[in-house]
């Protein structure tokens, strides 16, 4: 973690080889991801760019109460950030097209996070993460342990199979580098 403050994250040689993840994928899979993305878009746009599932609604309700310990929406003149102070379980979906999402806990396999900005997971990322949803290619996905089902940043995607084994289950950062997804270790 210290390293990222002073110098850009080191890229492993394995990853450099892997970096052009944009290698042609089967059209079917491409179409699937496109459809998934379109569906997410639609759902978010339908309700004024905001549709949140129960977990988030509950989180907000809690945040509005006195305690506000489980989840808080921090909004200022900058882009808002949603904090979730518990694990995101299989089947749950956190959607926050307005800004970034930070999760203190793990994201289970079968769960999904959709964020307009970046996604930070202080725990294991085992589910699906959609960052930069809505057109932000500068968004990143950062987690303490990388083992995702699907990583998407502004429509570019990569699956667990395409991530080098050396990067898995370790702290990592994912971002868009030109036209490709780049996955780098954090330490």
């Amino acid at each position: 973690m210290k390293r990222i403050q002073s110098s850009p994250p080191r890229r492993s040689p394995v990853n450099r080889r892997l970096a052009p993840t944009r290698r042609p994928l089967a059209d079917v899979r491409k179409a699937e991801v496109a459809a998934l993305f379109a569906e997410l878009w639609e759902q978010s746009l339908k309700s004024d760019g905001l549709r949140r599932v129960e977990s988030l609604r509950r989180a907000e309700a809690l945040a509005s109460k006195a305690g506000a310990e489980e989840a808080t929406v921090a909004a200022g003149d900058v882009a808002p950030c949603l904090f979730i102070d518990r694990p995101v379980r299989s089947g749950q979906s956190i959607r926050f097209p307005e800004g970034s999402v930070t999760i203190f806990g793990s994201v289970s396999s079968g769960a999904e996070i959709v964020a307009g900005g970046s996604i930070h997971v202080y725990g294991a990322l085992r589910g699906r993460a959609f960052a930069g949803f809505g057109g932000d290619s500068g968004a990143r996905i950062i987690c303490s342990s990388l083992d995702p089902e699907l990583l998407v940043i502004n429509g570019l995607y990569t699956t667990a199979d395409e991530i080098a084994a050396s990067l898995r289950n370790k702290p990592a950062q994912v971002r868009v580098d030109g036209q490709a997804m780049s996955v780098t270790a954090l330490d």
Partner: protein, 272 residues
Amino acid sequence: MSKVLVVTSGKGGVGKTTSTAAIGAALASCGEKVVVVDFDVGLRNLDLVMGAERRVVFDLISVVQGNAKLAQALIRDKRVENLSLLAASQTRDKDALTEEGVARVIAELREKFDWVICDSPAGIERGATLAMRHADLAVVVTNPEVSSVRDSDRIIGLLDSKTEKAERGERMEKHLLLTRFDPIRAARGDMLSKEDVLEILSIPLLGIIPESQEVLRASNMGAPVTLNSPMSAPARAYMDAARRLKGESVEIAVPTERKTLLNKLFGRRAAA
């Protein structure tokens, strides 16, 4: 202060009914007043495991629909006097359960018993959501394998959102019961380890029940394993879990067969 406990898992066949019976009997033999309620309407099993299948006249549905009084439907256990059973109906389905009816029955049971233990059906549909709806705490039964762990994770998500307690903004107390655990296979890596499961589910561990022939034997005998062979490894594990539920602090260990005094005396080989 009575407590409503739901035994749930998402996945079927992991040991919800066995665990409900075993923990219910264990708590009752500690002197607590316990009722075990079968929510698996249409696929009732708890009466068989409790050995009361010949004594079911009225059931949960009759009480929910107001066709029978609660006292008529409760079946007293013949072995432990503090233990009662409220069976499910085999001829109806989950749609026969109404939200208001279940709420009323649970409220009535709370007045009569210290522990109301609800045996949830598998799945995440009506039966399962109604079984967890009024719970104060949950025991999540999980086998050390990936599909069971993922389903448990899903159920924990529902416990945190679809229960009355969650809707009031309170935190649902959840405990993990790891069943059918084989320490030897886990050590070999053929099975998820305790640490793997806890890492994924991140809820406190209530107990580890070792895989054992005794469990099946007890079910076939129509008795909770904690009554049928109280000195067996799974029975002692369930007994420890029950004591932890009561708030006692008992160190978590996986009991093995070889520790029993009788085995030592007769020099029998322990079951692996």
